[in-house]
Amino acid sequence: MSGIPEVAPERRSLAAADTWRRLFRDRPMLPLLALLVVLVILSQIARPGIVTLEWAGVLLSAAVPLAILAACQTLTMLTGGIDLSVGAVASMAGFVVASLSASTGTGTGIVVALIAAAVAGLVTGIGVGVFRVHPLIMTLGMSLVVLGLANFWQLQTAKTSSGVSPELRWIGSEQFADILPYSLLVFVPVAALILLGLRRTGYGRMLVAIGDNPTAARLSGARSWQILIVLYVVSALLAAIAGFVYSGYTNVASVALVDSSVLPSVAAAVIGGTSIMGGRGGYGGTIVGVLILTVISSLLSSLGYPEAVRQILFGSIIVAVAAAYTRVTGET
């Protein structure tokens, strides 16, 4: 054996694949952003000329409420949980504001809705944190409770409720220069709080710690029940905020308004790299995940496929993206 050994070609390509793999695993945003760019290009190919600033504005309007909803999933999934009650809480919040805005003003309506949401989140948090009920079941049960109570409220206030308040409509549907939706005024601070909170605060780190290794977290002194209670209250408050924006965006106040967005919110978090097992992920990826889902949705509708085919493709794409993500990063 003399001289410098020549690396065989196969080994070189293996090393290259390893580098890609490490790159994707360390910077998971890159393949997501690449996918987003590819989808935008596909949209342009499918309907030439569609990719304009106005189109981007429409997409952003649709994406903002979903992004807020997906934040709830991101936060709960970091601890290995999930929040299936976000649809019911969001719809309830939107409805409460609509029903109160005529009589007592939008501001009071918002406060009442936030308090109601916080109570729901508190109950959920106690169930998950103290009684150790599986989050899937707990949030499922809470969604039934919130839906039933919201329906009951609807019956009580049927005579006095009005449509969606103009303030919410302005936030949800209007755009600045027809491009930037005003809902960004709500979204940007919320997103900044979540991004910074997850990365810079001790609480954010403890969320990840609980999901990653609950035993180690407990032995390190983290009081998981307190953390979880706060978590689900925060998740419920975020869901309420999303509900306000949804209500403004669709100009509808209904107790089942947001139900169809619950599964997409989970899908967005998963696509964005948050592991449903807990311990891994972040909100940045989720935001890109939401954009990806919104562009896919717009692409499929611009291709003119009927709703049923769009649903089939939507589900298949989610599986494909999640599978590719697992393959590329080598983790679940």
Partner: protein
């Protein structure tokens, strides 16, 4: 052992056996007691509750009970399936469309075909989970979109028809008027399909995979194959549930009902651990009956429908909290 000590030891031993059996099946016994209590309660608040009540209960419970069995099989093996409702809708509309206007004999073919389709759909779910290694919640969530989409493609609006013999299987009573056919169908289906599986090697592998996948793997259980088979079995029961919808409604409805989430609720209430490996199929069936009976009682008591929903949610949460508490107490002892 002296002659007097032996009988005492025997009866003490027998008591211990009964006690340990009671403890192991505590959850199931609790459920049965709750069901019995509810039946008594129902009779008290509605003295007319008799044959028609039991009939109605059996028919309305059949689809959800089969869905709960399907979900239980998957959860026992350590997974979960959030696409059961969509699968039921798809099988329902496929059967309704194929049976519409055809002969009764062709209906038999359709039923068999639907069962095979269910096996296939379930196997696809399981196969995707095993091959892609993506968590089951994500895969089945996405597949719920896919199956629901196919259901809409097959039948955009409710319609179709059903063979008359299929409808007559679940309607009415068998023998005495107290035994609803739907209940007999449920017992026969579960007995014929699940009990042999449960006792077979597949059943053992199923429980092992759910209980401790690594230990099962090391003991030679083929985890991948077991999971795919578990999901295929789930698909079979989901197909049966979808067919029961066709049989009881006589048409096909492409929009999935609340069966997915209700089946998860029934499974948890039925004493099956979401972590897998613990529980059985009869607990969820009893849980379904309890849930439906509560709903019926609410109607009898003239309780607002929405408050009934609230109560259902609260009961679900309450029961699970109590169960969790018991488990925590037991593990700490």
């Amino acid at each position: 052992m002296s002659a007097t000590a032996a009988p005492v030891a025997r009866s003490a031993g027998r008591a211990a056996v009964i006690a340990s059996a009671a403890r192991r099946n505590a959850w199931m016994l609790g459920l049965l007691a709750l069901l019995a209590g509810l039946l008594v309660f129902t009779k008290i608040i509605q003295p007319n509750y008799g044959v028609t009540g039991v009939q109605g209960l059996a028919i309305s419970v059949l689809p959800l009970a089969l869905a709960a069995v399907a979900q239980a099989i998957v959860v026992l093996s350590g997974g979960i399936d959030l696409s059961i409702g969509s699968m039921m809708a798809l099988i329902n509309v496929v059967a309704a469309v194929l049976m519409d206007g055809q002969s009764e004999q062709f209906g038999v073919v359709v039923v068999f075909g639907s069962l095979l389709l269910g096996l296939l759909l379930g196997a696809i779910n399981g196969g995707l989970i095993v091959i892609t290694r993506v968590p089951d919640i994500v895969v089945t969530l996405a597949m719920s979109f896919v199956w629901a989409g196919f259901a809409l493609v097959v039948l955009p609006t409710p319609g179709g028809g059903s063979a008359r013999w299929l409808m007559s299987i679940v309607g009415g009573s068998l023998g005495t008027e107290w035994i609803p056919k739907a209940a007999v169908v449920l017992i026969v289906i579960v007995g014929v399909i699940w009990i042999p599986v449960r006792r077979s090697r597949l059943g053992l592998s199923l429980y092992a995979t759910g209980s401790h996948p690594l230990a099962a793997f090391r003991s030679g259980v083929s985890i991948g194959r077991t999971k795919v088979l578990a999901y295929a079995l789930m698909g079979l029961f989901a197909a049966l549930a979808g067919l029961s919808l066709t049989a009881s409604t006589g048409i096909g409805t492409p929009v999935p009902g609340p069966y997915t989430l209700m089946s998860v609720a029934a499974v948890v209430l039925g004493g099956v651990s979401l972590a897998g490996g613990r529980g059985g199929v009869f607990g969820p069936i009893v849980a379904v009956m309890i849930l439906q009976l509560i709903r019926t009682d609410m109607t009898f008591l003239d309780v607002n429908n929405n408050l009934a929903t609230v109560l259902q949610g609260l009961i679900l949460i309450g029961v699970v909290m109590i169960g969790s508490l018991v488990q925590i107490r037991r593990s700490r002892a």
